[in-house]
């Protein structure tokens, strides 16, 4: 593992940003001020960051309904995201998309998505475009364990293999699709085992361990960049909140989340390791924590004090042009 200090700081900062963003959205949602459906990524940070640390703006990712973490990891601007979640006119999608549709094509973020399994076909397209554009870019589709069963996902694995696309499919197995266990809905041991059905490498990785994810991601991405084709990587991880904000989570054991937070918190694990190994010191981390807290605070205040769209916006941007 060859991360220098700057990179380690960046990794921690991104993960902390995601965590703080989600924790705060959780709180703010409870006040009733955030409209719509919100799905939080807290607990899964090491996956988004572990992959996106390898990517540039030219590389593309497609996300899911649980998209905040992927956005932040891919460099989408936090104030624009928060304003979007609040439905404001200066939101990254002008208040038209909301939490489930945050996108920023300039950052190579092709969108959160309200449709489970919609990302993988789009990512085949991004991979294809990269092939024609000869820019060495790769394309990464994040899907959940639930989404891994969707026909669109499996078709995409096949297509990426047949066309030898520079695509990476990341199955974020957080144990549940809504209230349904992945041990029930996925009919084989590991999602990554399905890679064999599509002639590509499949790897299972501990999604709480940033370093493990980072390494596995790096190999798959390198391989894809070099024309070696697609991979399927399963990150085993956990979500710290409900499926959506408002979920009573009765399908979980009483102390499940509490225990997970203790034993399987990717941020804690990261901190322990870098401190243990003397790669970073406590001050480093504390500074970032503080900085991030301020950033998120600012983003929320900024969002709350921003204007809502106005009626003229309703019919703009349906088409590029429509006579």
């Amino acid at each position: 593992m060859n991360l220098n200090e700057t990179q380690l700081l960046q990794a921690y900062r991104k993960m902390r940003q995601i965590r703080a963003f989600e924790d705060r959205v959780h709180e703010e949602f409870a006040t009733g001020e955030i409209p719509g459906f919100v799905h939080l990524y807290a607990g899964e940070e090491a996956s988004a960051v572990g992959f996106c640390m390898h990517l540039t703006d030219e590389d593309r990712i497609a996300s899911t309904h649980r998209g905040h973490g992927h956005c932040i990891a891919k460099g989408v601007e936090i104030n624009g995201m928060m304003s979007e979640i609040y439905g404001r006119r200066n939101g990254i999608c002008a208040g038209k998309g909301g939490s489930m549709h945050i996108a920023d094509l300039e950052k190579g973020m092709m969108g959160a998505n309200g449709i489970v399994g919609a990302g993988p076909p789009l990512i085949c397209g991004a991979g294809l475009a990269a092939k024609f554009q000869k820019n060495g870019a790769v394309a990464v589709a994040f899907v959940g364990d639930g989404a891994s069963n969707q026909g669109t996902t499996m078709e995409s694995l096949n297509l990426a293999s047949v066309w030898n696309l520079p695509c990476i499919f990341v199955a974020e197995n957080n144990g549940y699709a809504e209230a349904t266990s992945s041990t029930w809905s996925v009919s084989c041991e590991n999602i990554a085992d399905r890679a064999a059905a599509f002639g590509m490498p499949g790897v299972v990785v501990d999604g709480h361990d940033f370093f493990a994810v980072y390494e596995v991601a790096g190999e798959a991405i390198k391989r894809a960049r070099e024309g070696g084709g697609p991979s399927l990587i399963e990150c085993k991880l956990n979500r710290f909140y409900g499926h959506f904000e408002g979920d009573a989570q009765k399908y979980r054991l009483k102390d499940e989340v509490k225990n997970l937070k203790q034993s399987n918190d990717c941020l804690k694990k990261f901190a322990d390791k870098v401190l243990d190994q003397g790669l970073l010191n406590k001050k480093h981390l504390a500074e970032i924590d503080e900085l991030v807290a301020e950033e998120i605070d600012f983003a929320v205040n900024h969002a709350k004090s921003s204007e809502k769209p106005n009626s003229a916006d309703l019919l703009t941007d349906v088409y590029v042009n429509y006579p």
Partner: protein, 333 residues
């Protein structure tokens, strides 16, 4: 004695009563139980809106969670229907139709015809429609015109708890494939609903309000909005007749035409996007059948030609409002 229950409870009761009545009735969908394979409680969800809550306790394996594979499980419902069962499948949001439409429109809808009359496909697909929850473009559409377009399907758009119960019971008993569209903004609407079982026949419109000046035809939630508009206009001396067709296919055109013959004016209120919509459909059919009775153009009040937006300000403009209905009516007179 009044028994006030919600739309949600009415749907739940209809399912419960039909499952009790007929062992062939089974139900399936994503988290319609909730908790399959998990370590916590079963029946943790009863569907995302709790519509099927409690059925697992009563009927066990006759209600089934599914993986997130709409083609497979909606198709399985269709296949089971053709093999003698009466499945009720839940397509969580009508917006998800795009991953499983084939099993609905090419399979379920066409079996009877393609097979020379020898198949029956008594499947019900319950699905939620409509905007209002700030759920944005993938969770707010009202795509029933697409299903109405397809020969072989029946399409139901209930407007209240009473209607929902009776129409769902009919849907389960009906021998053709039925798309049952539950508007999300109706879930917590309450009204008096009989405890006993009753079926409301398809293709019989409900005249929700009598009036001689103008006919309003509306579907689902739009019936409620139209009633608001009608009350306002009544104060100005304009009497609206409000008609709820209940089913878009079959459509009770006769009742609509009779009303238009009386009033001379028609406004159709439809939350779907305007092009090739139910509003257009009814306007065209009435123009064709009752041209001589129309004293003014048929007005259509629909969502605009854009996807459902997220922001509350925009979404409120997107959904047809009582105001827009009254404006349309005033423009006629």
């Amino acid at each position: 004695m009044a028994r006030i229950i919600t739309f949600r409870e009415a749907v739940n009761e209809a399912l419960l009563q039909e499952m009790e009545r007929d062992p062939k009735v089974i139900a399936m969908g994503e988290d319609v139980i909730g908790g399959s394979g998990a370590k916590g409680e079963m029946d943790a969800w009863g569907g995302p809106f709790g519509f099927t809550k409690g059925l697992y306790g009563k009927f066990g394996d006759r209600i089934m969670d599914t993986p997130i594979t709409e083609s497979a499980f909606i198709g399985a419902a269709v296949g089971a229907a053709v093999c003698g069962m009466r499945p009720v499948a839940e397509l969580m949001y009508i917006d998800f139709m795009g991953v499983c439409f084939d099993q609905i429109f090419n399979q379920a809808a066409k079996f009877k015809y393609m097979f020379g009359g020898k198949a029956e496909t008594p499947v019900v697909i319950r699905t939620s429609i409509g905007a209002g929850l700030r759920a944005a473009s993938h969770h707010s559409q009202s795509l029933y015109p697409i299903f109405t377009h397809i020969p072989g399907l029946k399409v139901v758009v209930p407007s209240s708890p009473y209607e929902a119960k009776g129409l769902l019971i009919q849907a389960v008993r009906d021998n053709d494939p039925v798309i049952f569209c539950e508007h999300k903004s109706l879930h917590y609407i309450q009204e008096d609903v009989p405890e006993g079982s009753y079926a409301i026949p398809f293709g019989e419109a409900n005249i929700v309000r009598d009036g001689g000046d103008v006919t309003i035809v509306a579907f689902g939630l739009m019936v409620q909005k139209s009633m608001e508009a009608a009350s306002k206009l009544a104060k100005e001396g304009i009497q609206c007749e409000v008609i709820d067709p209940r089913t878009t296919s079959p459509l009770d055109l006769e009742t609509i035409v009779e009303s238009v013959e009386k009033t001379g004016y028609l406004v159709v209120v439809d939350e779907s996007n305007p092009r090739c919509s139910m509003a257009a459909d009814i306007s065209a059919q009435v123009s064709d059948q009752a041209f001589g009775s129309l004293r003014g153009p048929v007005k259509m009040v629909t969502a605009p030609h854009c996807p459902p937006p997220f922001s509350d300000v925009l979404e409120d403009l997107y959904i047809p409002s009582p105001n827009k209905i009254t404006e349309a009516i005033r423009s006629l007179k």
